[in-house]
Symmetry: C2
Subunit: 504 residues, 2 copies
């Protein structure tokens, strides 16, 4: 190609990924597959069946992001079809399920228990570790009004984490009830549509408990709070008694007392210390039913427990809410402790399907954040083994390619991953290639070996070990370590024995 | 809800799927997973490693569909990012690979052998059986200039079809070389950029061989052809000698003679009967090298063979092209014979990566049409078994839910999929639910059984069989067929034995 054609290089597109998207290589994909296989097996053990919906839905059917602008791309990826209807890429696996259930209501068994897995898309500003395409793994029960269904979701979440190799004690599933929070609001006079704005300020304050501590929340429930930078956040304007009730709901009384951990203690605290409306009392009764179910099935309190501080996903949940939390600590590269915290959660959403059908359909579901969980498993050292590459048959003489093809086929027929080197380079490059592929073994047949009906089998794992200890090149060559020359008929057996020795 | 609120129903979104997209249920998904696991295992046996690229690419990096309009949505789904750059959903798995390889050229082993699996998207007019989202499973070798790599792709395709349960003889992998066709064109004076238009008409005529037969193609190579409806298609305007050379290339001579099937016969025919330029002769030499490799590895001619009639994907292929064809016939619902024909194919494309890098990078790849192949396997009766539902523990008394939860857990702990019925309906509805879930067994514990420490295990598969033969209801009740009452401690063992008997 001539250097005198500058227009060619300006025409050339630059090979780059769109912001917020990532390629995934073999080791990461193998770890994801091991994980999702374990999750799938657990969900199927619990009687859930697979469902897959397409990546696109009509924007109005997805809900939440209705096209009130010309390009309704806030939060979701949307485009207009040639019949002018707006379509969006799914942003979660729940909204498409609601559409599916409403569309196929007469055909599905009820209750309908499905699991779904796959990528979802968010049209958000990408940042470090924040991706616009990521994996979710969901399970939902539709048509089961009883909170036993919610209790089961919590138990299944616990089973799932253990199936992934997270030991009991290193995780906890926390369950709460949206109705208890509603009951607190109503008891302090914050019920009703006209108080929605004030309720939202209270909810935001509660959500900051982890970050600001109980005094920070107290300030935000009252007149407001000035942060370290001097910025002032206006509060919810609750009076002292109102604020105390909210704080007691969070497990803190005015004298500095705390609710003890555990379902029984938490429920007693709520009943004895927190002022609740009728809705709130119903919420407590439901949590008692959940707690009894957990007890009967042997999941209480070490695996699943009632915890009023869980206030997740406040917008569309209508009853029990639950969250899976990892409780172990690991150190990052600089030795600082990191906690992974929440790796999934869900709750009861009785209104989503009613959007389509006009009548309520009880529903509860749980979503696993696969990417987050995978990072946590990697930190625990439970990422699975790195994939082993194929046995590489070296090409010593291009005219004898047929022989190498036949050797590779013999190995494959015995179930051993094998290939011939397909490039055009010499021995040194071929050995380097085998190394980059993490090949466990190289098979070599020069013309002398061919004439003798033999083949040399070289252990690349042991060879790499030994090369660390042998410095002298001549000594190395004399020893010919980690390789053996055998009859062609013994190739499979020799390779098998070498692979077994490497594993164990 | 009042009937007097019509505005509610107009506000309600309609639950419907966008045109050209489909939901997929458990049985279909299980069959896809079985298939893709077999394909993956075969590709890994051949030394390919997994890669996943994201669903979005920059439109200019994908190529082919450059944004020369405001909304470049012809054929692909595209949208503009908030930095004004156009992004598109991938329409195949090759263009994103070219981007990946160009972007990571220094980091990857060379040759680079990857496989990729997942949905791709086409923004086309949907029709019956034509979807806008479908699955592909690709394997590619980058950086291997030798046609041995192409021969391996063909052999791997053959191994893949057999791994999927398609017997030898029911498929064939056909291989040809784009250079031979180029050589035919050049020999009849149709080389050069100025003849591109005429070449395209010739290619279109060749592509119709299957549908129109040799005389139809002959007419289209000459002045043109009038079809049954009287419509006239203008021909390529070749003279008699030019047309005969093209027809001989397709294996038909002027005297009505045919090339015999088989690589050797096809190559001899091409060499002896077809006028070819130097390019064409190079193409033949490459096919001879491929044929020798197939022979050496034992794939010739029953599994893979040279066939000059394969002219697929003529736009971007630069060398060998190959196609996987199913050769068995099945009958459709009305007894008419159907042949599935092509279920995948590929070829050498040395130009795609050069788009980014400015220097050529040899590449060859094979793509399996997963959905098409799945339909063929279903027709062969090799779709896999329908998934079996969970054992259903019936809820006889809502107050004893804890007992049922414990029974289900006992089964799950033994690795048996089990659930309690989560709805609010009575016995009859519960049995109907178990039926719709394809539950193999129902577990029943009434209060008498509970008091006796017993449980009833009901074989729903055998029960359904027997209900066909027993007409008399009283006889049925007296016989209590297909169920057994055992001690609670024997539950797992009883269920296991019953499941084993059902299987076989």
């Amino acid at each position: 190609m001539s250097e005198n054609t500058p227009e060619r290089s300006t025409e050339r597109p630059k090979a780059r990924l769109p912001r917020g998207f990532a390629d995934r290589a073999a080791a990461e994909l193998a770890a994801t597959r091991t994980m999702t296989d374990a999750i799938r097996r657990t969900y199927e053990l619990w009687g859930f069946e697979a469902l897959e919906t397409p990546f696109f839905e009509y924007t109005d059917a997805l809900g939440k992001f209705l096209p009130d602008q010309d390009r309704p791309n806030a939060g979701v990826f949307s485009l207009q079809d040639d019949d002018e209807q707006w379509m969006s890429l799914r942003y979660d696996l729940t909204a498409p399920l609601a559409r599916f259930v409403a569309e196929n209501w007469e055909r599905i068994p009820k209750p309908y228990k499905s699991y779904r897995f796959g990528p979802v898309f968010r049209n958000e500003k990408p940042g470090p570790g924040r991706f616009r395409q990521f994996l979710q793994f969901d399970a939902d029960v539709i048509g089961a009004p009883s909170v036993i269904a919610d209790a089961e979701m919590c138990m299944m979440a616990a089973d799932t984490l253990e199936a992934l190799g997270i030991p009991r004690g290193d995780y906890v599933i926390k369950v709460n009830n949206r109705k208890v929070l509603d009951g607190v609001m109503e008891a302090i006079g914050l019920g009703g549509d006209d108080k929605a704005g004030q309720r939202l300020v209270v909810l935001r304050a509660i959500d900051k408990l982890d970050r600001l501590g109980i005094e920070g929340v107290r300030a935000l429930l009252g007149t407001g709070r000035k942060d370290e930078s001097g910025d002032f956040t206006k509060g919810a304007g609750l009076n002292g008694g109102q604020a105390e009730n909210v704080l007691r709901f969070l497990g803190h009384d005015v004298a500095g007392g705390h609710a003890e951990q555990g379902s029984g203690a938490a429920l007693r605290w709520l009943e004895e210390r927190v002022e609740l409306s009728e809705t709130g009392k119903q919420g407590i009764a439901e949590l008692r039913e959940i707690s009894a179910a957990l007890q009967a099935a042997g999941f209480c309190d070490d695996r699943v427990r009632v915890d009023p501080s869980v206030v997740r996903g406040l917008e569309y949940y209508t009853g029990p809410v639950y969250e899976a939390e990892l409780t172990f600590e690991v150190k990052d590269d600089e030795g600082r402790p990191i906690r992974f915290g929440s790796v999934g959660g869900g709750g009861r959403y009785d209104g989503l399907i009613a959007r389509f059908r006009g009548e309520p359909a009880p529903a509860t579901g749980f979503s696993v954040g696969v990417s987050r969980l995978q990072a946590a498993l990697a930190a625990l050292g439970r990422h699975g083994e790195a994939p082993v590459g194929p046995v590489v048959v070296l090409v010593m003489d291009r005219d004898r390619t047929g022989d190498y093809l036949a050797l590779a086929r013999t190995l494959r027929d015995a179930g051993i991953a094998a290939e011939i080197y397909l490039g055009s380079s010499g021995m040194k490059a071929q050995m380097k290639y085998a190394d980059r592929r993490s090949a466990p073994i190289a098979v070599i047949q020069g013309s002398n070996e061919k004439d003798a009906g033999e083949v040399t089998v070289k252990d690349l794992v042991q060879g790499a070990e030994m090369s660390k200890s042998i410095d002298d090149r001549s000594e190395w060559i004399a020893a010919r370590p980690a390789q053996v020359t055998v009859k062609e008929a013994d190739l499979v057996e020799t390779v098998r024995a070498m692979l077994a020795a490497q594993k164990g």
